[in-house]
């Protein structure tokens, strides 16, 4: 199993070092801009998490691994491990860089202070885990190209649905909208944050447990899909 994880890491070779070096430098630059940093660290971690899929597809080595004495279930499980490993490593590097930059320039650390917390990175890991839980079954069922297209389509559709549903709920409950009344919205958001702060550990645990459960279901679906797929 770990031989299969290692081959994904080894296959990235020099590209991995380039991504690490460039990504780390960019994250250091983004560390003082909360929204940019979140976007940056998510992209950086997603690259590390899903990059080996792209390498496998680009070099068309899938048939090689189908020809060696490992089961398809092992191939799928190894891919999940590699993905989560990539996400964890990406976020850990991001967190370490952000903390390091904040220490070098403490005056500038006020803005992104919350982002530099470990809890914030755990939330990002849960987001990436959920993304993997949706993307990987599509990848193993449909192949790399169609799998990615379907994932992008589902993600965009999901964002639109969530956005519309949020607007409808806010409107139905007579709550302010962030676009029409930003000040009232901010006040409302602060209220939610105050409610969540004392319950942060519980909420984080629930989020992580939910992500882990989704990933486990996703692993079962991926294994079933890959075991019946023609390569």
């Amino acid at each position: 199993m770990f031989s299969l994880v290692w081959k994904d890491v080894a296959a990235a070779g020099r590209l991995l070092w380039i991504v690490l070096a460039v990504g780390a430098a960019q994250l250091a630059g983004m560390a003082f801009l909360p929204s940019t940093y979140v976007l940056g660290v998510l992209i950086f971690s997603a690259l590390l998490a899903f990059g080996s899929l792209a390498i496998e597809e680009y070099q068309r080595t899938e048939l090689l691994w189908i020809s060696v004495p490992v089961s398809r279930a092992q191939i799928v499980t190894a891919r999940y491990l590699t993905t989560i490993l990539g996400a964890v490593v990406g976020l850990a590097i991001g967190w370490a860089i952000a903390n390091w930059v904040a220490r070098l320039a403490p005056a500038a650390a006020e803005g992104p202070a919350a982002l530099l917390s470990l809890e914030a990175h755990v939330v990002l890991l849960a987001v990436l885990t959920l993304a993997a839980a949706v993307h990987l079954p599509l990848h193993f069922r449909l192949g790399a190209g169609r799998g990615l297209m379907s994932f992008v389509a589902i993600s965009l559709a999901g964002l639109i649905v969530v956005s519309l549903a949020t607007r409808l709920i806010l409107s139905a409950k007579g709550l302010p909208s962030p676009t029409t009344d930003p000040a009232a919205w901010r006040e409302l958001a602060v209220g939610w944050i105050q409610w969540a702060e004392p319950r942060l550990a519980l909420l984080l645990t629930l989020l992580v447990a939910f992500s882990a459960a989704m990933l486990a279901i996703s692993l079962v679906l991926s294994t079933r899909a890959y075991e019946t797929r023609d390569i």
């Binding site: 031989s3 299969l4 290692w6 081959k7 080894a10 296959a11 070779g13 020099r14 590209l15 390498i55 070099q59 068309r60 080595t61 048939l63 090689l64 189908i66 020809s67 060696v68 004495p69 490992v70 089961s71 398809r72 019946t228 797929r229 023609d230 390569i231």
Partner: protein, 290 residues
């Protein structure tokens, strides 16, 4: 042909929207080489992928070492060395690094054998896979396939794109492999002269169906080219030949029963031994205008 072998394929079917592999059956006995021949798109690679378990069959059975490659895929693949028509490894890694990734997965990997074969094939192990020519990529894939004591070596068009010298060396290597009488080779190719040199059995596949699967010597003994005048052709029943080419003044045809043709036509025609190339050309219709 033996009724049981290291590889037994029975009634194998695979349906695609535009192609169907139908009722493919053959047996490869232990210690022999079988050539799988046929035109492009005949179903050779599909058959090999089904044996490997990369494709799921719709019907039929495959037994490799008595095991089903779908149910006991890990066990079966640990005993098979596979060379795909276009070897794929990580281009940015050296041959040593690529080999190390594969070697970890074979319990019976023999590094000495790999090094010996790499030297024999004149492979520079420090080179990156992406820098190799097609021929050297095939050599590397072959060195890997032969380095884990495989009992069955499956080669999908391994000699296409190789120079004649290496093709000869490759065929010698494959023949050497059989000296232990334990290894069998299933070899798909469209270069029939390679098979005339080394194959014990020939399986011809066309349009997803087996035309024949027989011992090579028996094919070369029984199959013959018949050349004669058009008037002699008129006296024969339709479909007497397996393939026929009519010219302006005469005909050239392929028979699968040289003895019967000799008895029936006597000295009125010229009967000469058919090569595998002739057999493929006439039976697949490429050389026929019947």
């Amino acid at each position: 042909m033996e009724t049981s072998g290291i590889l037994e394929v029975r009634g194998l079917c695979k349906q695609y929207p535009d192609f169907q592999l139908a009722d493919v059956s053959f047996t490869l006995p232990r210690g022999y080489i079988m050539g799988l021949i046929g035109p492009n798109g005949a179903g050779k690679t599909t058959t090999l992928k089904l044996i490997l378990g990369a494709l799921r069959r719709d019907a039929g059975s495959i037994r490799a070492f008595g095991l089903d490659p779908v149910e006991a895929g890990v066990e079966v693949r640990s005993r098979i060395g596979f060379v795909h028509d276009e070897p794929r490894f990580y281009r940015s890694l050296t041959l040593t690094q690529n080999a190390a990734l594969v070697a970890r997965l074979y319990p019976s990997w023999n590094d000495d054998t790999f090094r010996r074969l790499s030297t024999a094939f004149e492979l520079s192990l420090d080179k990156r896979f992406g820098q190799l020519s097609h021929g050297n990529k095939t050599k590397f894939a072959l060195a890997l396939a032969l380095s884990h004591r495989a009992e069955l070596v499956v080669l999908d068009e391994p000699t296409s794109g190789l120079d004649p010298v290496f093709r000869r060396d490759l065929l010698d290597t494959l023949t050497e492999l059989l000296q232990d009488e334990r290894t069998s080779i299933l070899f798909s190719t469209h270069i029939t002269s390679d098979l005339e040199r080394i194959a014990d059995y020939i399986t011809l596949i066309q349009n997803g169906r087996i035309v024949f699967s027989e011992a090579k010597d028996r094919i070369l003994e029984n199959w013959a080219l018949v050349k004669g005048g058009l008037d002699q052709l008129e006296s024969l029943p339709p479909h007497y030949f397996r393939g026929l080419h009519r010219g302006a003044h005469g005909f050239e045809a392929l028979t699968d029963d040289a003895r019967e043709a000799r008895r029936r036509l006597g000295d009125s025609v010229v009967i000469e031994g058919a090569t595998l190339d002739d057999v493929v050309l006439y039976t697949t219709g490429s050389g026929s205008n019947v």
